[in-house]
């Protein structure tokens, strides 16, 4: 039990970025993100004993994180999505960085406008997963993944204009 907990902690420590990124595309407030992080952790802990292929830890975390987030976002009607760009920490006086950050925030806002499934597909795409890996996590064909990515890119382009 102790070693299982240690192994689990090591994995979460190395891969926590995945959970944070999934949270970022589904939730806007820190409270919701923290809440969902805990819920994802709980579901990962429960399914950890059934994790057989240790080479696919990333895919396992993505699948659990997306399923948990979709479940939460759908059942939790108290979630209020604000249209404003979230406040960010004060930054150094660097115009290039500032502009890129504003654009990054706009991209996140634009991602929030996609439906839940396309949002998750785009996250996996932006995280450099190939079409086959995305298809495996979502459960659709890689051709379908390609079609959806192209469609979402067009939508994002429209939102970002």
């Amino acid at each position: 039990m102790e070693s299982t907990q240690e192994d689990f902690l090591k994995i979460i420590s190395n891969y926590q970025g995945i959970i944070h990124k999934v949270n970022l595309i589904y939730f806007k407030t820190t409270a919701d993100k923290d809440d969902n992080f805990q819920e994802i952790l709980l579901q990962l802990w429960r399914s950890f004993p059934s994790l057989k292929d240790k080479t696919k830890i990333g895919s396992w975390i993505y699948a659990v994180a997306i399923n948990t987030s979709i479940s939460k976002i759908r059942k939790d009607s108290r979630l209020i999505f604000t249209d404003s760009i979230p406040e960010t920490e004060p930054m150094e006086d660097d115009t290039d960085n500032f502009e890129s950050d504003i654009n990054h925030q706009k991209l996140i806002e634009a991602l929030h406008k996609l439906n839940e499934i396309d949002r998750s597909i785009m996250l996996l795409y932006l995280e450099d997963l190939d079409y086959n890996q995305i298809a495996e996590i979502i459960g659709i064909t890689s051709t379908n993944v390609g079609v959806r990515i192209n469609r979402s890119k067009k939508q994002l382009k429209k939102y970002l204009k």
Partner: protein
């Protein structure tokens, strides 16, 4: 927008957006998770213990006291209903443990839709039985109550208690049905996003 631009834009600010948790904080969260995992089973454990206690009491009462054929038949019926509900509860718990999030999104949504549809079907099928079980449970509890406190049977109090319990069960079941239907609609919408 070019593909690389979109990816570059995503990566340009992602580290500023994420607050990575320290290892001690993650450790605390993992400990909480393992505890929470156990705690979620507790309400069922309490209900299971109550049902087992009532069954034991009824069996003991049936064996130790000879009160004629009608109380014996009544006792047997109550015990059978309670044992049946206990088995159903164990079966649903096993099902819940099997239920996992680490499958593809499409399969997960499909599984959940099937589960909810089956629950709605079961609810319709066993609607009357659930109310009978609720009545049986409250009757047993009342019998235990008057037996332990050694008070006389009061028919009006008994009817009022049954009425209150039945109303509560009915209200809870209506709320549950509404929630199930809402969840089903929402999951079907999600599934349509994958398979339009």
């Amino acid at each position: 927008m070019e593909n690389n631009n979109l990816k570059n834009l995503w990566k340009s600010g992602i580290n500023e957006d994420i607050r990575f948790y320290s290892e001690p904080k993650l450790n605390n969260m993992v400990i909480k998770c393992s505890r929470k995992s156990i705690q979620k089973l507790h309400p069922r454990l309490i209900l299971r213990t109550i049902i087992i206690l009532i069954i034991t009491f009824l069996v003991w009462k049936l064996v130790s006291e000879n009160e004629g054929i009608i109380p014996i038949i009544f006792g047997f019926i109550l015990i059978s209903i309670l044992v049946g509900s206990l088995i159903l509860m164990e079966w649903s718990t096993r099902k819940m443990i099997k239920y996992s999030y680490d499958i593809p999104v499409k399969d997960w949504i499909k599984n959940r839709i099937c589960e909810i549809e089956r629950s709605i079907r079961l609810q319709k099928k066993y609607d009357v039985l659930i109310h009978i079980i609720a009545l049986a449970l409250s009757t047993c509890t009342y019998v235990m109550y008057i037996y332990i406190l050694k008070i006389t049977f009061d028919l009006i109090a008994f009817i009022v208690a049954l009425f209150i319990i039945l109303s509560c069960v009915l209200a809870l079941r209506m709320a549950a049905k509404k929630n199930y239907k809402k969840a089903l609609r929402s999951l079907q919408q999600l599934y349509n996003q994958i398979e339009p």
